[in-house]
Symmetry: C2
Subunit: 190 residues, 2 copies
DNA sequence: GTCTATATCTAGATAGAC
DNA sequence: GTCTATCTAGATATAGAC
């Protein structure tokens, strides 16, 4: 065969990794197949050897992204046991606001998610429930767990929607302070 | 003249009102000029008698939407003096989640706002600061004011991103409960 | 001001050569 | 598996008739 048997999965892997970043940066609808393929040095025609449609790629991107976001939320053995509070500070940071391509898919696609097909919404829902579970383990409060997830996603979206760096920093700082206060109050009452 | 002098502004008004709803429902990029014009019974060619470009329409849509959202947030003489808590309950409601075309522009466009030109981001920023001011008047807490705005926007986006009605209701209910608790605790300490 | 017609561009997707 | 070429459909925007 002209291509080794691992070549296809290598290319697919590269396409997925590259596409995840591009889609988070530019949005799904406005990022074309040509852009996705040329980013890995291929031409658009080759796309359809890996996915039957652009829509199918989106489904896989969302699946991997939700898994990635969840893994970032959970305590990592590798990072020396960072606290949930530390990880939230990173989420509500200027670098995260300025680099959607490396961040969480929820604020990056945000409102586009309201218009995706139901199969993809199932993936989102499952991932969100897992995230809620992680927060609830820490907070022991189902309502507060949903609220803090919503707050974090909303804060990053707002931070990315304003013009001035000063307001962006202010929005993020205020939200960090609120989450910090919430976590401290829960720790005291434990 | 073949058209009365008020005809142009009438058409422009109809186009803007109609476009505001369509853009919130379908997104800005994915709603074409043809769709915007046929919604008011005209053909695409006539669009450019009112706006030099689709981009110019977006700017006006955002301007009016931010003003509208702000007016909904402020106490209305007409509604018998509803409380901020009552208005927030309406924001975090299933009807709002299910009808983006009639709701707030922030969760409706959400992540698309991260990619709009800076002129439009200025409008968003000014509107957000006004909203923050309204919340701060009530809460007397700058951080909490930013947090609750982020939470409300994020909650509606999440509610629209999940598949099941049950989870959608749960996300909204939990967030309503949290905002309610925040407002009550502030009222006590006044 | 609005219409019809069209120019121009770009999108997603397919066909056949290599 | 990838490339080149192309089909079809849709977009924004323009030109000229009414």
């Amino acid at each position: 065969m002209r291509y080794s048997k691992s070549h296809k999965e290598d290319t697919r892997r590269k396409l997925l990794d590259s596409s995840r970043a591009l889609v988070k940066k530019g949005g799904f609808d406005s990022t074309g197949v040509e852009a996705l393929m040329s980013a890995i040095g291929l031409t658009p025609g080759a796309f359809y050897s890996h996915f039957p449609s652009k829509q199918a790629l989106l489904e896989e991107v969302i699946r991997e992204e939700m898994q990635y976001s969840l893994s970032m939320l959970k305590p990592q053995p590798a990072d020396g046991g960072s606290t949930l509070n530390q990880r939230t500070k990173a989420y509500l940071s200027v670098p995260h606001a300025e680099h959607p391509e490396a961040g969480c898919v929820l604020p990056a696609l945000g409102s586009e998610l309201a218009r995706i097909p139901v199969e993809v919404k199932s993936i989102i829902e499952d991932g969100l429930k897992d995230m809620h579970s992680v927060w609830n383990d820490e907070l022991k409060d189902e309502n507060a767990a949903w609220a803090v997830i919503a707050q974090c996603v909303g804060a990053v979206i707002l931070a990315r929607s304003v013009k001035s760096d000063a307001t962006r920093r202010e929005i993020l700082r205020a939200n960090r302070a609120q989450v910090d206060a919430l976590l401290r109050s829960r720790a005291r009452s434990d």
